[in-house]
């Protein structure tokens, strides 16, 4: 199979012998990997949402059987292969629940969106977060007092500085944001700017 995309939890991170990696994908049913879940090991491309504990993964050539296995896990979410299809009302509900639960703003998603365009906006937010952590370090952004409703101006100074650096280094227009802008609105505004951008994730062109 080709073109499969999944959202799965991140496991590990305690040492080089146990690095952060996507759950289920870094595995080998023979027992030689770090934990068996699928019938084979697959080369993967991945896009992690900062250090929030979730990662988009695109495996190369995953078998139909392993695709079914992966989609069957309660904490894994497999996206449709046809990214140009519009989301159905049921899919909108599931996607909103999944993404909001990991602090990826998603209430803007409705049935007028195709999977491809929605993913581009979401990946814009994911990429912003990754760039932010390249400068800010490996700490969770959300949690404690920071939520999607937190305003930019109430974030610690170092966080604000590094967010600005991340947005500028990605050449995103942040002129519409101010101290009173919530993270939810800020993320969406920056993510919208990548709606016309093509993302490559391993075998996938989004």
């Amino acid at each position: 199979m080709a073109g499969e995309l999944y959202l799965v939890p991140v496991v590990g991170g305690t040492s080089i012998r146990d690095p952060r990696r996507p759950k289920y994908l870094d595995s080998d049913a023979s027992g030689q990997g770090r934990g068996g879940a699928l019938s084979a090991r697959y080369a993967i491309s991945q896009e992690e949402y900062g250090y929030e504990g979730w990662i988009f993964v695109a495996p190369y050539g995953i078998s139909a059987a392993d695709d079914l296995t992966l989609r069957g896990f309660a904490d894994a979410y497999g996206l449709p292969t046809d990214l140009d299809a519009f989301l159905t009302p049921a899919q909108v509900a599931v996607v909103q629940q999944k993404l909001e639960a990991i602090n990826l703003p998603a209430l803007w998603i409705d049935t007028t969106w195709t999977w491809r365009l929605a993913l581009r906006v979401a990946f814009g937010m994911v990429r912003l977060m990754r760039r932010f952590h390249d400068r800010h370090g490996p700490v969770k952004f959300f949690g404690g007092s920071v939520t999607l409703a937190t305003t930019f101006g109430s974030l610690p100074a170092a966080v604000r500085t590094n967010l600005i650096w991340a947005a500028d280094s990605l050449e995103l227009d942040r002129t519409g944001a101010n101290a009173g802008t919530t993270i939810r609105v800020l993320w969406k505004g920056l993510g919208d700017q990548t709606m016309t951008e093509t993302f490559h994730l391993g075998p996938l062109v989004i």
Binding site: G12, G13, S15, I16, R17, P19, R20, R21, D26, D28, Q32, G33, R34, R41, A43, I44, S45, Q46, E48, Y51, R130, H133, D134, G137, P138
Partner: protein, 230 residues
Amino acid sequence: MPPSTRRTLFQTGFPEANQDPLSQGGIWTNSYTSNSNAAIVGNRVRAHALSADCTMSLNSVGTPGDQFVRVEIATFGAGVMEIHAECRLSAGPSWTGYLFVARKGAAPASEIIYMNAGVPSSKASENVTAWAGGDSVSSEAIGSSLKLYRNDGATELISASDSALASGRPGLDIYTETALANTELDNFSFGDFASAAVTGTGGSGMTETDVVAGGKTLVITLTGDTFLPS
């Protein structure tokens, strides 16, 4: 050989008498508070301590962003062990860089890891290769392309793409759990990459600067020219 055109900027076979920590006149640094240091023993490099990442970076060489690191595994004995060829390392005190791992005794056998201030994220791995003494481990970081090679193969074992780090120091890492003597490396080299050869006809406007400052590799093929004695 790998398809890239490697240009060695530094190499050593660790000819000095035993040193702990590895220093070679102060060009190596163990600057990460979370890690131990490596040592020269019998003209090879060993870990200073068991079950600790013994990491050293080169501190006194020019560090081009696009870089390769190559080490040879001198000994890979019994137990769990790793040898890394590391690229784009931070100066410390927190450990950041790209780690290219050859591992024995645990899975996966080969791995590319992005280390962000001590928090490792796996970027690619495979679990087929049986690393052994005599193998070479080499890494390449070219732009966002990261590749791990075994024995200077024409194709990489594994590859990944990551744009978090654009520059930094080259370095090495040894990890061993059973006995220090079970894991040794030798013949470290580091460098950058010559630009691809330019083929074509040089015009009268071509200058030395085009070749030297531009970092180009000049390949001259003479066909039917008139040679003037100097």
